[in-house]
């Protein structure tokens, strides 16, 4: 079986912590050809570490190579629209990290470009490929809890987790040495960067489209310009509810924590990190948790599964395992949460004119 030739764009945190290791794991199926990043040193470092012969500071040079079959886009969401469309126009199959984009117009343009150029396109909502959540969906599909009426999630991350990841992989720091993920010019904050996981899972499990969203948020990081704490409620068209609280800036040593509960008419499913983390250290100084993203049970091999299944769809010319419309709808909910937290009002979906 010939290997698919891969170009990766955006050698930052998610690429180094998840995508590049997964591609390396799939070396019998994938060959990393080149890496691009606006930071030449980041592109070179990733290329050397994961065995690519080429690196670029301009992603368009990577797209111009005829020997690349698919690209894996791991840049910040505000770049996804431009880069996915460019990749599709260059005839490359495209796997793009979530969130899909920072606007529905970009999301629609991405889907249209992929169709127009007859390339495969998928947004990497990794939790769709995570064993924990797949098991939940399977149980729902088997009717284990009847009709889903409520999806309740709390996700908590310590600031130190991000600090470790920054040291390890490095964020793009475009302004005053501050990472893009804190800056309003480049992101809307937690509603998109991680709460889009929650909006996607809630929509997946409920099996209906959202009717309205209410959200409130806070900026807790001293250097932050965008909310890193969000609490929201989604009302779905079938009357079910999705509710979540996402907090990103907790004190050091607080364990990554995700509580997922699904309530149905005939039962409930609970999947949480028991008791708080899959790995605990007990010492004479008390209990502590590792600051290591890779110890999280529910991440496991999700990225390997995600990339492998996408590559399989490319190779076999079959539909991708996650239609990008799902990512687009999860984005619509997340953008409605952004709007709601700004206006203090409930935001109805779909927007007038069919935008969502």
């Amino acid at each position: 079986m010939p290997r698919l030739r891969v170009g990766l764009i955006g050698a930052g945190t998610i690429a180094n912590s998840a995508h590049l290791p997964a591609i390396a794991h799939l070396h019998d199926q994938l060959e990393l050809i080149a890496v691009a990043d606006v930071r030449p040193e980041a592109a070179e470092q990733a290329a050397r570490r994961y065995g690519a012969a080429s690196w670029y500071s301009d992603y368009r040079q990577l797209l111009a190579r005829p020997d690349i079959d698919m690209v894996d886009i791991c840049t910040p969401e505000f770049l996804h629209g431009e880069q996915v469309v460019a990749a599709a126009e260059a005839g490359k199959h495209v796997l793009c990290e979530k969130p899909m984009a920072n606007s529905l117009a970009d999301a629609d343009a991405m889907i249209a470009a992929a169709k127009r150029n007859k390339v495969k396109f998928m947004v990497g909502h990794s939790r769709r490929f995570t064993a924990r959540y797949r098991a939940i969906q399977q149980a729902i599909g088997e009717g284990a809890i009847g009709e889903v009426r409520l999806v309740r999630e709390n996700e908590r991350r310590a600031a130190s987790m991000y600090n470790v990841m920054r040291r390890w992989a490095g964020y793009w720091r475009p302004v005053d040495e501050r990472p893009w993920i804190l800056l309003a010019e480049f992101t809307y904050g937690a509603a998109l960067t991680n709460a889009v996981h929650e909006t996607d899972l809630a929509r997946w499990f409920v099996g209906a489209e959202a009717a309205s969203v209410y959200s409130a948020s806070q900026i807790t990081a001293p250097e932050g310009e965008v909310p890193d704490f969000i609490s929201y409620t989604i009302s779905f068209q079938n009357g079910a509810i999705g509710a979540a609280e996402v907090v990103n800036n907790l004190p050091p040593r607080y364990p990554y924590f995700h509580m997922m509960e699904v309530f149905g008419t005939e039962g409930m499913i609970r999947a949480t990190d028991p008791p708080m983390s899959p790995l605990e250290h007990w010492t004479g100084e008390g209990m502590r948790f590792p600051e290591n993203f890779n110890t999280l049970l529910h991440v496991d091999d999700a990225y390997v599964r995600e990339i492998e299944q996408f590559a399989q769809a490319v190779r076999d010319d079959t539909p991708v395992p996650l239609d990008p419309w799902n990512a687009r709808q999860a984005l619509a909910i997340a953008l409605a949460a952004v709007e709601s937290s700004k206006t203090g009002q409930v935001v109805s979906l779909p927007r007038e004119g069919g935008a969502a």
Partner: protein, 293 residues
């Protein structure tokens, strides 16, 4: 507070306590009063009955619809009142709160874990507060959910926040039938934490535990998590798994909290809770968040 030795010194006269209310909880609190040498149970009466002679403080443990009348009766007699939180927000309850020295206290403060959490937060354990998440769930079939689950939890969270609530949104859902049995309240405070409160009869009828209660407070320096009802014996056999709670009576802890609350009486905060409650009600009716008056 659960240990008698932690009782704060009382103002003269307040050691003679009258309890107004029926049922198990009133029994527990009455026993707690009698167990402390520095307190005297002046009497225990049903709502509507004359107050016991010699009382210096009234503990109102009456049903929600009876509380305003009990407060009016006690303040009319010049007595301070510590009461379970009011559930209505009209002129009568506001007038009752303003007629004398009246402090509302959630029964949830009887749980040692939650009272400890409250004390830690008050002592600055969170650093800069970020949020409070609170959840109280029971099995299907319980009636009067807002008064029985919602108001105590909202009051506990309101007291924990320690900041004025500015905006509240309420979303309801029907999990097990046609009528709403789940409530979700998101409330913003002025300079304080973001509040997320959930309550409802949403547990499956066959859930191992009859109820679940969780409070988590997050901040720049700490995260505090209280789950008082996890104190249970879990039995697994051929019939499945059940959790048999063994948590101790709430009376002693509640008594300590009530005495502390009446001594720290803040009239503006008492009215502020009714303002918060009013916004929660209005948000249900309007389908949009309501500003707190």
């Amino acid at each position: 507070m659960s240990a008698p030795e932690q009782l704060q010194p009382l103002e003269p006269g307040m050691e003679r306590i009258a309890i107004v209310g029926r049922g198990d909880f009133a029994d527990e609190v009455a026993r707690a009063v009698q167990a402390l040498a520095e307190l005297t149970l002046a009497g225990r009466v049903d709502p509507g009955a004359p107050l016991p002679d010699g009382a210096g403080l009234v503990l109102c443990l009456a049903e929600p619809e009876e509380r305003v009348a009990v407060i009016q009766q006690a303040t009319g007699a010049g007595l301070p009142v510590a009461t379970l939180p009011l559930t209505e927000t009209g002129d009568a309850p506001r007038g009752a709160l303003g007629a004398g020295r009246v402090a509302q206290v959630s029964a949830l403060r009887g749980y040692a874990a939650l009272e400890t959490l409250r004390a830690e937060v008050a002592g600055g354990a969170l650093g800069r507060p970020y949020g409070v998440f609170a959840s109280h769930r029971v099995r299907p079939g319980q009636q009067g959910l807002f008064a029985s689950l919602g108001v105590p939890l909202l009051h506990y969270v309101y007291a924990l926040a320690g900041a004025p609530v500015s905006l509240a949104q309420t979303t309801r859902a029907a999990i097990h039938g046609g009528e709403p049995d789940a409530w979700f309240v998101i409330a913003q405070t002025s300079g304080g934490p973001l509040l997320t409160v959930e309550f409802g009869a949403i547990l499956p009828a066959e859930s191992p535990a009859p109820q679940e209660l969780l409070v988590e407070a997050t901040g720049s320096e700490g995260v505090l998590r209280g789950e008082p009802l996890r104190q249970s014996v879990v039995v697994s056999n051929q019939k499945g798994t059940s959790a048999r709670p063994w948590w101790s009576a709430l009376g002693p802890g509640f008594l300590g909290a009530a005495l502390g609350a009446i001594q720290a009486h803040d009239p503006a905060r008492e009215q502020g809770f009714l303002d918060f409650l009013g916004a929660v009600y209005r948000a249900v009716e309007a389908g949009q968040p309501a500003a707190v008056a």
